[in-house]
Subunit: 193 residues, 2 copies
Amino acid sequence: MSAREKVLDAFEELLLNDGERGATLDAVAAQAAVSKGGVLYHFKNKDALVQGLTERLGDLTAVDTAAMIADPRGPSAYYVDTSVYDGSAIDRALIATARLAQEAHPVAREALAGTQRAWYELIEEEVGTRAVARAILLLGDGLYYNAVLTDEVANTQALGSGAADRAELLEVVAMLKDQAAARERAGGAGDPA
Amino acid sequence: MSAREKVLDAFEELLLNDGERGATLDAVAAQAAVSKGGVLYHFKNKDALVQGLTERLGDLTAVDTAAMIADPRGPSAYYVDTSVYDGSAIDRALIATARLAQEAHPVAREALAGTQRAWYELIEEEVGTRAVARAILLLGDGLYYNAVLTDEVANTQALGSGAADRAELLEVVAMLKDQAAARERAGGAGDPA
DNA sequence: GTCTATATGTTGATAGAC
DNA sequence: GTCTATCAACATATAGAC
């Protein structure tokens, strides 16, 4: 493995385990088993490290969306299935990038937004209905996750905050509730179709 | 307002806007319009500040769960409805705490877990089915949000990662998809019951 | 209760040896 | 390509004046 990749792996690992604050140049150097000077040879400053990670996420997103398209169950099934963290390469890159985004790194935020956009487009195409696609995406990624990672915190009027949007989401939840009640009556975990 | 609360508000505000890294003692002092010494009089060190915030979250969670119980639409409707960030006191405390949890503050992680537990218990009681309750909670809070904020990153075998759990979640998504298709056929956004 | 020093450790980054 | 100084900037925390 190239030394550059080794350094990037170290940065990612530290972000996952210790957060952004723990991912200092010293710590990255130690984790990658090189000196600080060695790290700064491959990445001239910390921003370059962040940049390197977002580029990795971009590459992995391309691979992921290809798999999403190829999955016979359809994009949304693939999406939810893989939304459970299992330590895959894209999971790691995604969460590491999320840690950076939390600390207001614009580059990291853009990278995350790009990944989500790619997911959304495929799901929207599959289910047809805008509301359901958004619901699946929001319910999957998590409403709060969005709030934490985007500028929704600063901008309360971001997408998904409107009363009408909220009502649509509530309908979906009502659907889930009704379906659960029906299943209770039928008494089993059988085919919901 | 007490000076203590003013300092805590400043800490919270900085966490929301600038992340954990921006919430330095200097910055907190400036935001609260007191000196650093003034901050350290009310909170003897930074950990005490974190502690103060988590206690605030605990208090707000108690208020929130009471409202959740009182809501005639039921806990899950209340839950999803209020999962959209709107700058309420609990939203702010929650996200500020989340920022700290991201940086591996154990106290903050426990506080968040406690809040989620309170929500889960009410939703589980309402819908009856374990799987649906978990789905609503996970789909609401976000699968990734969980991964980011808990030790799921370090511990891949955390709840919700099992193949059976995953299959249950997929069924719920299939339900959503079927319902969306049925609604498309009916041609409207009408009553899903 | 609130302020001003001040001590002490870290962090990101540079310069230059090997 | 990789390392060892070395530095200025900044962070937390203490001591003690007012």
